[in-house]
C-alpha cells in the first residue's frame, strides 16, 4: 500500500500503564461559574459541570451527548485545561495531569482538540501550513521539518499540499477547514483527540466524509477519541461507548449499542425518541420532552431530571440517584433502575442479586 505518511504510530514507550489502564480517568470534576444577579443581588453560581466522572479506555471512541447547555463543551475545555476546574481529579494514563509526573505541557503534547467553528479555530492571517506547523515549531521542530510535516498531514487529510498549503482559511470551504483543523491536531502526534462538535457545522455529505476520515486516522495513528456531539446518529456511527449528560452530570454511560438501543435512563429514552425516524409508522406523536432544561443556577433537588421525567415519583424529589451499574459495563443514574431505591418501578433486590 502506501508508505506511512506523517508520523509513525505512537511509540510504544509512551504507553505507560499498559492497555488495561484507562487513557483518561475523570473523577468528580466540578466547575461552577459565578454570576451576579444585578446590583446587590446574591451571588449565584451556574453549575455547569457538577461532579462528572467517567473513563476513556485506550483506543476507544467515547461519545458525550446531551442537550445544549448540559456541560459537554465545558467538560471538554476542563479536560484540555483551557479553564481551571474547581475540584476533581484528571488522570492521564494513570498520572495526575498537572502533577509532577505529568506537567500540563507534557499532557498537552499528547492531547489535542478540534473545535466546532472551523473558521474561528484558524488564524485568518496565517496560511494553512503555517497553522499546522505552529505546534511542532513550538515544540522545537525546525521550520523546514515542521512545514514538511504539515504538508504530509495535509495530504493525509485529503488536501493536496501543492494546492492548499499556501492558502488562507477564508479561501477554503467549511469541510476543508475542518480537515485542516484535524491535521493541526494531529501535528503534535497526540494520543487523545477531543472532538468538540467537530462535524456539527458541516453539510451532511461533507460530515460523512470527515467522519470516515476520522475513522481512518484513528486506525492509522492509534488514536483515542472523545467525541462530543448532540447528533445521536453520528454518535451511533462513530462511538464505542457513550455517556449521556444532563445538567452538568452524567446520567447514563455504557456501550453505544446498548445505550442507544435500549436506554436505561428516561432522559436517554426521551432523547432517542426525539430523533425523527425514517419510518412513517414510527413517527413521534407526543413531544418526548416537555419544556426547557431547568436553570443550572438552581437545579431541582433530588434527581435533576424529575420535573420533566415520565417516571418521576415522590422519592425522586428527595434522593439524588447515584450512577450505579445495571450490568458490568452499563451504569445509569436513575432510581427507577436501582433495586431498593423505593421507586415503584425499581427492580427487586433479589432480581438484581
Amino acid at each position: 500500500m502506501s508508505t506511512p505518511i506523517g508520523q509513525p504510530t505512537v511509540p510504544p514507550d509512551r504507553d505507560r500503564g499498559g492497555p488495561a489502564q484507562p487513557l483518561l480517568s475523570i473523577d468528580g470534576l466540578v466547575k461552577h461559574f459565578p454570576v451576579k444577579k444585578g446590583l446587590g443581588g446574591r451571588p449565584a453560581v451556574v453549575r455547569a459541570v457538577d461532579g462528572v466522572d467517567f473513563t476513556i479506555l485506550k483506543g476507544e471512541t467515547l461519545g458525550i451527548v446531551g442537550e445544549s447547555g448540559c456541560g459537554k463543551s465545558t467538560t471538554a475545555r476542563l479536560i484540555m485545561g483551557l479553564m481551571p476546574h474547581d475540584s476533581g481529579e484528571l488522570l492521564f494514563d494513570g498520572e495526575l495531569i498537572g502533577g509532577r509526573a505529568l506537567p500540563w505541557r507534557d499532557f498537552r503534547a499528547q492531547t489535542q482538540m478540534v473545535f466546532q467553528d472551523s473558521y474561528a479555530s484558524l488564524n485568518p492571517r496565517m496560511t494553512v501550513e503555517g497553522s499546522i506547523a505552529f505546534g511542532p515549531r513550538v515544540h522545537g521542530v525546525p521550520k523546514r521539518q515542521a512545514i514538511e510535516r504539515a504538508r504530509s498531514l495535509l495530504a493525509r487529510v485529503g488536501l493536496e499540499p501543492s494546492r492548499f498549503a499556501a492558502r488562507y482559511p477564508h479561501e477554503l470551504s467549511g469541510g476543508q477547514r475542518q480537515r485542516v483543523n484535524i491535521a493541526r491536531a494531529l501535528a503534535l502526534q497526540p494520543r487523545l483527540v477531543v472532538l468538540d462538535e467537530a462535524v456539527s457545522a458541516l453539510d451532511k455529505s461533507v460530515e460523512a466524509q470527515v467522519l470516515n476520515l476520522l475513522m481512518d486516522l484513528k486506525q492509522e495513528f492509534a488514536l483515542t477519541y472523545l467525541f462530543i456531539s448532540h447528533d445521536l446518529n453520528v454518535v451511533r456511527f462513530l462511538c464505542d461507548r457513550v455517556a449521556v449528560m444532563y445538567l452538568g452530570q452524567v446520567v447514563e454511560i455504557g456501550p453505544a449499542d446498548t445505550v442507544l438501543a435500549s436506554p436505561a435512563h428516561p432522559y436517554t429514552a426521551a432523547l432517542l425518541s426525539s430523533m425523527p425516524s425514517m419510518d412513517p409508522d414510527a413517527r413521534t406523536q407526543v413531544a418526548p420532552l416537555a419544556g426547557d432544561p431547568p436553570n443550572p443556577i438552581d437545579p431541582p433537588p433530588g434527581c435533576r431530571f424529575h420535573p420533566r421525567c415520565t417516571l418521576a415519583e415522590e422519592v425522586c424529589k428527595g434522593r439524588v440517584p447515584p450512577l450505579a451499574p445495571v450490568d458490568p459495563v452499563h451504569r445509569v443514574a436513575c432510581l427507577a433502575r436501582q433495586p431498593g431505591s423505593g421507586h415503584s418501578a425499581a427492580p427487586t433486590l433479589s432480581v438484581a442479586a
Partner: protein
C-alpha cells in the same frame, strides 16, 4: 485532478485506500505572499490611497529638504513688502505680516508641523498598544485597573487635556509632544484592548494554548498580527487630529515659539491679516488640511486593504 475547480470538494478518502496520493514533488515550494505582502499588493491598486501616499511623501520630502531648497530666506522680513498677494512676482505665495516669503516659510514650517504631529502618534502607538494588548490579553483585575485608569483621561475633551498638560509643562516643542502623547495613549489603548479581548476568545488562540506555546509566543505569532492592523489604522487616522491639535497648541502660544515657522503658529500670527489678504492668511490652514486629509484617505485605504474576507 488539475481540471477541478479550486473549490471542488477534496477527494474522498476511502477511495485512496486509507491514504490520499502524495504529490510527486512535495518540495514544489510555492512561496505564499504572506499577509502583509497581500496588504501591500492591494494598497498599490488603490488609486485614492496611492495619491494620498504620494502627496504625503512629497510634502515630507519638501519639508526635509527645506533648508536647501527654499527660494528665499524664511526668516528675513521686509517692512515695505508686507502681505503681498499670492502670485506676486517675487513672492510666489505672497508674504506674511512681517514681509517674509510665505512659500519658504510653509516649506520649512512643514518640518516642525509634521514632527510634532506625527511623533506623538508614534509614541502613543507604541505605549498605547502595549497597555491595551496587555490589558486585553491578561484580562481580570489587571484589565480593570488599567482600563479604568485610562477612562479617567476620557473625562476631559482631548483639546482641553492637551492645553492643560501643555500649560502645566510649559511651552515648547518637547512639552507639546509629551502632552499630545498623553492625549492619544488612552485612545489607542482602548482600541487595542477591545481588539485584543475579541481575538483572545477566538478558538485559534485556544488551539495555540493547547499546543503548549508560551504566552509570549502566542502574543507574538497569533495575536499581534491580528491586533496591530486595526490599531495601526486607527493610529494613522489620529495623525491628522494630532497635527491639528499641535497647530492649535502653537496657535495658543504653547508649542513652537516665533520666529520659528510652524503652520499653526503662522495661522495665528496671520489671523490679523484675514481682512487684508485672506488668501495668504488661509495658506497655512490649507497646508494642514491637505496633510490631514491625505493621512485620513491613506488610513482608509489601509483599512480596506487589511480586511480579511470571512
Amino acid at each position: 485532478m488539475a481540471t477541478l475547480a479550486p473549490h471542488a470538494t477534496a477527494p474522498l478518502l476511502d477511495v485512496a485506500g486509507g491514504a490520499a496520493p502524495l504529490p510527486d514533488a512535495p518540495d514544489a515550494f510555492m512561496p505564499s505572499r504572506g499577509f502583509w505582502g497581500q496588504v501591500g499588493h492591494k494598497l498599490l491598486r488603490d488609486p485614492v490611497a496611492m495619491t494620498a501616499a504620494c502627496v504625503i511623501l512629497a510634502i515630507v520630502a519638501v519639508a526635509l529638504l527645506a533648508p536647501w531648497i527654499t527660494p528665499m530666506d524664511p526668516y528675513r522680513g521686509s517692512m515695505i513688502r508686507r502681505l503681498k498677494p499670492v502670485g506676486d512676482a517675487t513672492y510666489l505665495l505672497g508674504s506674511d505680516e512681517l514681509g517674509r516669503d510665505m512659500l519658504s516659510r510653509l516649506m520649512l514650517g512643514g518640518r516642525l508641523s509634521l514632527f510634532i504631529g506625527v511623533t506623538p502618534v508614534i509614541l502613543a502607538f507604541v505605549i498605547g498598544s502595549g497597555i491595551g494588548i496587555l490589558a486585553g490579553y491578561v484580562g481580570g483585575w489587571l484589565n480593570t485597573v488599567l482600563m479604568r485608569t485610562i477612562d479617567v483621561f476620557f473625562a476631559f475633551p482631548s483639546v482641553l487635556l492637551a492645553i492643560a498638560l501643555s500649560g502645566a509643562l510649559g511651552a515648547g516643542v518637547f512639552n507639546s509632544i509629551v502632552s499630545l502623547t498623553c492625549v492619544f495613549v488612552p485612545q489607542i489603548a482602548r482600541v487595542a484592548e477591545s481588539v485584543t479581548t475579541q481575538i483572545r476568545s477566538r478558538d485559534y488562540v485556544d488551539a495555540a494554548r493547547l499546543s503548549g506555546a508560551s504566552t509570549f509566543t502566542i502574543l507574538r505569532v497569533q495575536v499581534l498580527g491580528n491586533v496591530l492592523g486595526p490599531i495601526f489604522v486607527y493610529a494613522t487616522s489620529l495623525i491628522s487630529v494630532s497635527m491639528i491639535l499641535a497647530s492649535g497648541l502653537s496657535f495658543l502660544g504653547l508649542g513652537v515659539k516665533p520666529p520659528e515657522p510652524e503652520w499653526g503658529l503662522m495661522l495665528n500670527t496671520l489671523r490679523t491679516a484675514i481682512y487684508v489678504n485672506p488668501l495668504v492668511a488661509a495658506l497655512p490652514g490649507l497646508a494642514i488640511f491637505i496633510v490631514s486629509i491625505s493621512f485620513n484617505l491613506f488610513s482608509d485605504g489601509l483599512r480596506s486593504a487589511m480586511e480579511v474576507k470571512a
